[in-house]
Structures are given as C-alpha cells and as structure tokens.
C-alpha cells in the first residue's frame, strides 16, 4: 500500500466514524429528553419507558456502527491496498 492511499484511508476512517456520530448523538439526546419528560410526568411508567429508550438507543447507535464498519474495512481490509 503506497503512503498516499494509507493516509487517505486513515483520514477517511476517522471521518466515517466522526461524522457518523453526529446524527445519532443529536437523536439520542432528544430521545433521552423525551424519556426524562415522560418519567417526570408519569413516574410509574419508568420501567416501560426505560426499556423502549434502550431499544431505540441501540437502533440509533447502529447508524454510527455502519460508519465504524466502513472505517474498519478501510483500516484492516482495504480494497485499494493493491
């Protein structure tokens, strides 16, 4: 692998995870906000709300994980390595 491909791959891997984390970060923030408001309004529903919140967190997290998969492919199984 020549140095320019290595450099581009490492930068792209960083960008893939970093940019991919922005959206889910915002989403998880607003989901947590909704959950906290729900619990404050109805403390007896805490168990149900927590379960749903964790499940939806995992869905949002998987969006970043897609970026991570791309980054891992670039770092460890680079198709342009030649």
């Amino acid at each position: 692998m020549d140095s320019i491909t290595t450099a581009a791959s490492v930068v792209a891997a960083g960008l893939a995870v970093g940019l991919g984390a922005i959206g889910p970060g915002i989403g998880q923030g607003s989901a947590a906000q909704g959950a906290v408001e729900g619990i404050a309004r109805q403390p007896e529903a805490e168990g149900k709300i927590r379960g749903t919140l964790l499940l939806s967190f995992a869905f949002m997290e998987s969006l970043t994980i897609y970026g991570l998969v791309v980054a891992l492919v670039l770092l460890f199984a680079n198709p342009f390595a030649g």
């Binding site: 499940l55 998987s62 897609y66 998969v69 460890f76 199984a77």
Partner: protein
Amino acid sequence: MGTSPFVLPFAALEVGQHLYWQFGKLRIHGQVFMTSWILIGALLTLVVVGTKKMERDPKGVQNLLEFLWDYIRDLARTQIGEKVYRDWMPFIGTLFLFIFVSNWGGALIPWKLIELPSGELGAPTADINTTVALALLVSLSYFYAGLSNKGLRYFEYYVHPTPIMLPFKIVEDFTKPLSLSFRLFGNILADELVVAVLVFLVPLVLPVPVMFLGLFTSAIQALIFATLAAYYIGEAVEEHH
C-alpha cells in the same frame, strides 16, 4: 475480510486474520466454526438437561428454560400477531438464543488462552459471514411466511398504500438483510476492539466497566435481531384491508 490486512503497530489486534480450513475449493474460517460448535453444544446440553426430567413445579434449569420460553413467546406474539406466531416462535427463539450465547460466550469465555496458528478465537457473531448468513435466513423466512400465508396476494404489500411505494419497498428487501447483518457484526466487533485496545493501554481495572457495557450492548443486540426478524415476518403476514 480481505486478503492483505495490516496489523496495527500499537495494539496486537488480529482483525482480518483467520485460521483457514480448505474444503475442496472452499476456504472457510476455522476459528468461527470451532467457537460456534462449542457454543451450540453448550446450548444443546443445557436444553436437553433442562427438559430431561420435567416437573410440575419447575426448578433450576427447567425454571430458567420456562422463563426464556415465556420471554420469546411474548416477543413473537407482540411482533407477529396472535394468528401465526406459533409457527415462527421456534425460529425467533433459535435466532435469539444463538446470537445471545455467541455474544456472551465470545466475551465471557477466555478464548485467548488457546493459541491458534493464525487468527484468534472469539464471538462467532464478530465474523461478517455468520451475521450475513443469519440475516439472509431472516429474508428467506419472511418471504416464505408471506407467500405461504397469503399466496400471491403477498405482493399487494409492495403497492400497499400507493403504487408509488413500489421502488422503496423493493429497495427495502435488500437493505433489510444489509442493515441486520452490519448492525450485529459492527456492534460485536466494536465491543471486542474497544476492550482489546483498552486492555493494551491500561491493563488494570479500567477495562472492566467497558466489558460490562459490552455485555449489556451484546444482549440488547441479540434482542434487537430477534425483534426485527419477528417484525419483518409479522409485516409479511399482516392482512391489509
């Protein structure tokens, strides 16, 4: 993964290195097969032992198995619906238990004590081939569920609210297995990598909470995979009016 991986110099992570077994023209990842067979064996032993002497008042292993059965039944019933959930409960339950046991077995059993000539033992679900196989099985089964329950009327689903949805629904058939497999693979591999990097940097105390977080997320991932599989099957057998 690819043919020419490079190992990061700052941590001895062996991503993309495998123990290859040659079967004719097929090259398979031996370490994945070894761990999955061991874990499937453990799961089968547990189930056989638990159902051998069934009692009216469940105790010990039987109690645990009945709890799991209840849990999987509730999951399947809420997602697939009262009418056909019984046909699909074994499939959903198998998916859930296999993924759960693979994820936790990969994290809890000290595989690294066993030295392999190449690659290393770990969770079977941290290999993309395992997760793609599971996701394609889900695809096949929701097609089968739809076609066997509704016949050719299954294809009404593609034009259900309006025919404008047709291209999106066709694309969805391809993105469903893609996202299912990547989600599971990425999460489990990420857990293993984070723990490996932390153990390399700070070998004491600090990795332990991250390991617990990894156990938690891998349990949730097993639940998500099973829930989504059940949801896709439920979507296919649902009657539109």
